[in-house]
Symmetry: C2
Subunit: 196 residues, 2 copies
Amino acid sequence: MKDINIILFDYFTILDAFGPVEVFQRLETHYRIKFYSENGGKIKTKPDLGIETVNMNEIEHYDILLIPGGQGTRELVNDGAFITKIREIAVKSENVLTVCTGSALLAKTGLLSGHRATTNKMAFQWVASQDGSVAWQRQARWVVDGKYYTSSGITAGIDMALGFVEDTISTESADKICSALEYVWNKNRDNDPFGI
Amino acid sequence: MKDINIILFDYFTILDAFGPVEVFQRLETHYRIKFYSENGGKIKTKPDLGIETVNMNEIEHYDILLIPGGQGTRELVNDGAFITKIREIAVKSENVLTVCTGSALLAKTGLLSGHRATTNKMAFQWVASQDGSVAWQRQARWVVDGKYYTSSGITAGIDMALGFVEDTISTESADKICSALEYVWNKNRDNDPFGI
């Protein structure tokens, strides 16, 4: 049983988080999903959902870290205390998954330096500018490099989550979830219809 | 400017609601998204998000009604007071959209009688049994019949939401959202990879 620790922040993109959540919550015997944020409490979203989080200093098990993207990342890359904390959590975590511009936050920690990674293609230049020493991939639905999984924009997070299930549990589990979600999984992580 | 009134209930499927929400919230000049429930207050979900809702007696504008599916529908089809209220809201609304087993709730009101409709293919028999006088479609990603839009399982709701945007705003708007979401839209509503 592993914890999936999702870091939320004001104005994260809801589907970045809840696409993967819908995948992972179907594996209740494998994963416990928990929502954290810099200071805990309610998170602002568009539209407002009033989602509650726990302070990220209270993470219990450093298993799987998931960082969504969204408008809020634009400010957060400049929040040194937040980035330092994300770095600490990412270092301790067994796996780190980012969706969309969530990879900007991870890149800013320096931990992706020398690794292959990807991100939303519309925000590609901005994300890549957070750390030029990352081998940023322009054509990838998602990228796996060591313990790091980084996905392209928004719905690519669903494909990556299914890929993570395939890699760490089984192809059968991933396929079963696809059927339940009636989702046509883009299984090939190098097949990027939005590549640039 | 139209209100999209989303009816939530305990154990709705989060992606049924938040897939379409991610589409609609990108059209802020067209839509206001609001969350309602039978009695208002916090809604239970898996995993728990602590989402807040307003009592559905307080709906302000009967524009677009959206009903997600999920485990919670299994009990709610037998909640006469809830079904009566859903019927009242659906009658007054300009458009009614259901995702997945949300169509079971709408079918139970009797309003789909004689109309074409679809639903999640895994739960097809159970949903169809709510009203045998509906022309249930076994092969359809989503179905449009008059003011009613009904979609297949879970992620089909994203395709339907994009279809609704195409039908009521423009193809250009729908395509623009697809690019932003990096989503490969199944544009043809008769193309159902999960049909039975």
